[in-house]
Symmetry: C2
Subunit: 205 residues, 2 copies
């Protein structure tokens, strides 16, 4: 049974889900595929290239056309789609963030964003900035989401708060706990709504 490029990619995403971004090893992937490590280099020039292909595969479908409707709902849909794709694999956000992707799917993503924002009436020379800003938010948020998953119950609740004002420090800890305890999807939606409100405001001028 010969290996196709796509089998390697699928196997790599399985290893990613099992062992995380730092756990992916050419040797481990090779073993997972029942092959010697050196053999992988026939399919991918190096690990970096493999990572880029993985990142692109994660973005598959994010560039699909969006349903007709109000522009702000469309933009929201795009943002949610991107988040869902990044969440679909362990450390997906960090993987995509770490690779400067120019592959097929990434270009497709750029295309839909462009179409939607242009149809929304945003000036051509601003469309890129809006898309870049919003996707930066999605990427940053999702990285934090996936990072927080394996971290201590509440960031900062380790008791080593060095603040002199005990009452105030308690408030901060309460804030941090509230953030950590909240549904990540709700937090995401909140930030998204702020951004969309800002966008609407800027368009009404």
């Amino acid at each position: 049974m010969q290996l196709r490029r796509d089998d390697v990619l699928t196997g790599a995403l399985e290893v990613l889900d099992g062992d995380g971004l730092e756990g992916i090893t050419m040797r481990k992937l090779a073993a997972h595929l029942g092959v010697q490590a050196g053999g992988l280099y026939w399919h991918f020039a190096n690990k970096q290239t493999l990572f880029e292909a993985m990142a692109d595969k994660i973005l598959e479908g994010v560039g699909a056309p969006v349903e007709p409707g109000p522009w702000d709902e469309q933009v929201g849909e795009l943002a949610r789609r991107l988040r869902r794709a990044l969440l679909s694999h362990t450390d997906g956000a960090r993987l995509v963030a770490g690779t400067y992707v120019t592959e097929k799917n990434t270009v497709a993503v750029g295309q839909v964003w462009f179409d939607v924002l242009r149809a929304a009436g945003i000036a051509t020379d601003r469309v890129g900035w809006v898309g870049f800003s919003l996707s930066s938010y999605v990427l940053g948020h999702t990285i934090e989401e996936q990072g927080l998953a394996g971290s201590p119950p509440a960031v900062g609740s380790t008791g080593k708060a060095a603040t002199s004002d005990a009452a105030e420090s308690a408030d901060v800890e309460a804030m941090i706990s509230a953030v950590a305890a909240a549904d990540p999807a709700d937090r995401f939606e909140y930030g998204l709504s702020v951004f969309l409100d800002g966008l609407r405001y800027q368009m009404e001028r």
Copy 2:
């Protein structure tokens, strides 16, 4: 001349600036400090701990009190401060994003955000969400900024646009070029202004 913990940290940031995040090696850092690799483990339990300390050091000063003034200017100042700190070292954003920091400076950063947003009149239970959203944007944006630095002239301009509509694809490429060509600081300010407009809008209701 004995090594102090802080010397190791400083040396590590120098290696970071020289060789990037992937280039940092316990052995290389040891050589840079004129020491054997094993010796570093007296100062830091492991590489991850070292990285966390580096991330925290990068955030030094970001938690300083902010000058009195309109709340939106204060919030903007905090966002810009964070961006500047992340930009101050090669791959700074990715370093901070990859470490779940609970150290001194990080807590201090949380403290100022809390103070400023609270004073702005944002409800206590919303303060964390706002701070989290905004810092997600800053983190995501800065990661992309630092990533784009070493990448091809214009993402997507590789000529392999698979779209059927040539004219539309040209528009997308123009958009991408416009984003890549623009001053990163301007792009950052734009997204920040959108977020702040949205925040103002939400507070007026």
